[in-house]
Point group: D2
């Protein structure tokens, strides 16, 4: 490659760091600008991974020195930064969700549909090679017609109390990843049912949110998808998918970094604990997510999820919230 | 024991045969009467397992030769036979469901509550020793507080078309076992949500029934229980339970009769197929179910599920049916 | 069947009890005589399982009331009892080993070869249905040509100190079962190498025996068989076989009675402990062993191992002992 | 770090490429010289990974531009290159074996012992983190005293026919890795027994070598170690270790890159095939091996195996060869 893609990064929190690190391992790109209103964060990141620093997105877009941007700033800034990217003709990879308000997303929808500027959404699980393999094998007909899909996703521990109010609630914050996974297998979801519960966290209860949820989706071919979420898991990050089809079953099991198993007087065949959390479990997926986005930047075919995928996941999350609150199944029409 | 319990058996279909066989292996009981309006069936069973034959339940009750009865006849006969048993003062083990109409069950409820005559319901899964072990370990606090329970139950193949109209639908016919299993762990269920789908069987669709369902229950402590059902399973009878608690997870996996595993060029660590169906998977449980009932007959403490358990399972099945039809979560009050 | 086979049982120790229990579950046979010089043992067994009692084998043979005998008495009595059975024309199932002295076995060999009286040897592992399945699948060519066979056999705990001097040593007492298993897959063994060690038991060391051994056999087609033995195992009875072939691998894994698995903070996917010992692990095999012998008694084709198998196992055990003591590989010719 | 370690690489075959790639990922080192009498190979490697090229080791040592060397050239050159490294005072990482002739190794031994120049041997398995974890846990007493160790190592397919004559035979070429693994757990081996077989490869037989072997070692505390080798494996690279101790068992199982498992009508729970061969299975280990060597170059404590480990492995391989040929167990004294 003759020239590296110059990337501007908005946001230097945990996920911003992950993207900066991915860029550092990808030869085809370089971190050109690091932007954060918390300028110390920007400086620290630039010190480690390179790039000029700014606390003002305008400066980055106006610099003429970025070929692509990655948006890892707080959710409330996403819509504006995507719009600015479109206006500047600069490809953008934006973290989920696009926004917590579907109205703001819809307001941008026509513009996003009309532009040629690549817009990618940060659904990292689509890049995990085990889930990719599962989808490929399901798509190849290995289990016949897909009838039931079960996604289990339990976080090791609940998020900091301070984060809860801005999280948008468990469905828009956590389930949204699994809702997108559902659509990775069954894009056309037509109905959402959800139940929420408060079984362990007083803090989450007081924030008006659920700590545990079960969501059931219906696909347009009457497939049923069920998503299990919990904000805690004593045995580590629990990330499984079970695809049940007319001629068989495929599962993605949890990942254990160690091949050592133990036999003792009280328990046999025990494995060591799982990887703790998403930064470990999806380290490779995060890198592939950025790499796939860079393909789009270079004008190559890319399988990155886009604006419509981000919008669909939010619609499903909203419907789940509504269903959990009212007890009614909610019909949705994602392509309307 | 000085004297064997003389048992009268109503119904000589598949499940009637199972009970006759169980009695044959239990020293403390003997098959005294076999009753079926299809008298040839009664004769065949008596020829193999002993007992006098009749096509008339009255004759059996009037004989003075039965100390207990087992009801394995068609569902429509259950209420009457239980009532006759109560009137005759003869302990009864009745197959599920008590009836397809909750009204008929409720009509018998006061009488069932008032009598001292043991009434046991045929929920065989409660006697499977793996589920018993799971419940014991959950009860012992091994995974802290139980937060989510997931019951997977998929039959190898759909029932005969002729059976469907009289089945009462998948919720009352198949899910009812898993609804009782839910109550085995969490007796006090307060809400039922269900979704049904038609993904593979034209016959089931034409019968107005679902071939695949997902039911989510809520316990009074906000526990969430999810039940997966399918009327077919390409890899054999699928019977699993996952209990997720605040400090860990316990699973009952599927049972494989063979300890042999295979490694080849295209697949490694593969096990042979599962046991085909419930008669194999629950053979021991059926026997223990009868043995536990016989304890009650002998006046010993017994953990057999009773009339109220049978009624509760039917109420949950009815609520699941209603929820699946209307899309609304249904509140239930089992002890009302 | 019109008439039950009347069985005489010699020896009422642990293994004698097992056989008595097997007979009790087999309709085609009845326990007719129980013989033990320790007459109290005979009486106790007869009280539980039926039969007349005696302390004198002659009385049993002379009674005219036995159609078959099972020899579960001390090893030193085996040769005489087999010979008496041949002389009396009464089929005999004899526990392994035939004797601890190959000379005494060879002295009986011609007579055993000449008679039509069925002589079966008690190698129970041949009747375990997992090993039977393994052999069937290997025989069917599922892994191509069998190249390496690995038998792991570790007892939960060492035998009583008092038993050691009469045991004949680990090779003749414990390994002999696995040597026969080797021959179940590869009958024609041509060479034996063995190493013994003393790593944990002072008592076994003082008895001049090994507590741990590794034996490697060579088949006539250059297959290599390795047997691992230990007189203790902290995680329970360890009974595995691995068959490595030119096109794949088949394993028989250990058996766990429970389907429950546990996930916790320090260990995941752990199963409960294994069955404790051979009476549990091989309960069904012991029953099938007797059933197969009864087929021979009835003149039906039977796959019970016979006198030559018993002799071959002893020759291999002797060779293993010699190899372990001298360090040299020992050539053997089993059919000479 | 202020300055990169300049590395000279001898040999640009398969394993030389692996080391060049490892160096490319390690910041602390740079490939300074690539040396191969087959100069085209040197040029190709240098073109990809950098460095000057030469076909003459003398030129490399004389250049004054190397701080360390890696020897991946044919076995016959190892002794000379190690000696030149010592003379030049340049740390050396040499592939196993040091030589095929123990006499040539012993001739260098005193010099190797006397020098301060780090000499590391390329036993890559010692750097696999699963084996490292196993050793750590065994060392921590998790299974009590180590009593039996079982190493299974089967290559996917036999080496090219042309390679066989120069391989030194299976024990010096393939088993040597596992012999070193044995010493990784039990350094003081006192006895070697081995059996070799020819079960599938006519080419290997004609080369006078074995295609399948079983080696049993004895440690100075009477531990028994058994190594299984085969030159082919239909299900991929088979790399397992089982450590049996007085209070439990630990296993390192095979590695499967995919978390997907399949359930079908004929087989359940099947995983995809294993990684094909050592370059994949030990990719990380090769990198860690070089990194550990670089620690020694920098004067830091390093756990790289050294000259004496290389010599010990060859002595054990020689003893295995002798034992396999003669049938006798061979006593060895590694520290003599």
């Amino acid at each position: 490659m003759t020239q590296q893609i110059r990337v501007g990064l908005f946001g230097t929190g945990r996920i911003g760091q992950v993207h900066a690190m991915s860029l550092a391992t990808l030869e085809e790109a370089t971190l050109a600008w690091v932007c954060d209103p918390f300028i110390e964060g920007a400086k620290r990141t630039a010190a480690e991974f390179g790039g000029r620093v700014s606390d003002d997105p305008e400066e980055v877009f106006a610099s003429g020195e970025v070929d692509a941007v990655i948006v890892a700033s707080p959710t409330a800034t996403h819509v504006d930064l995507i719009e600015q990217s479109i206006d500047a003709g600069i490809p953008v990879l934006c973290e989920k969700p696009i926004d917590l308000e579907i109205g703001r997303v819809d307001a941008l929808r026509a513009k996003a549909a009309a532009t040629d500027v690549p817009i990618a959404l940060g659904f990292n699980k689509r890049f995990d090679r085990h889930f990719v393999e599962l989808r490929r094998r399901v798509g190849a007909g290995e289990i016949g017609a897909l009838e039931q899909l079960i996604v289990t996703s339990r976080d090791p521990g609940e998020p900091p109390a301070a984060y809860l109010p801005q999280s948008g609630g468990i469905f828009r914050d956590m389930t949204i990843h699994d809702l997108d996974m559902a659509r990775y297998f069954i894009p056309d979801i037509v109905e959402v049912s959800a139940r929420g519960a408060n079984v362990f966290s007083e803090g989450i209860r007081q924030a008006g949110d659920f700590d545990s949820t079960v969501v059931t989706l219906r696909g347009s071919k009457d497939e049923l998808v069920t998503i299990f979420n919990s904000r805690h898991s004593a045995y580590g990050y629990d990330q499984r998918i079970e695809a049940f089809g007319s001629t068989g079953l495929l599962q993605v099991t949890n990942k254990n970094d160690s091949l050592v198993r133990h036999w003792g007087a009280r328990s046999v065949e025990g494995a060591g604990p799982y990887q703790n959390f998403f930064l470990e479990r999806y380290a490779e997926a995060y890198r592939l997510e950025v790499a796939e986005f860079l393909r789009a930047v270079r004008g190559l075919p890319s399988r990155s999820p886009g604006f419509e995928d981000g919008r669909a996941a939010l619609i499903l999350a909203d419907a789940a919230e509504k269903s959990a609150r009212t007890g009614a199944a909610i019909a949705v029409e994602l392509s309307a």
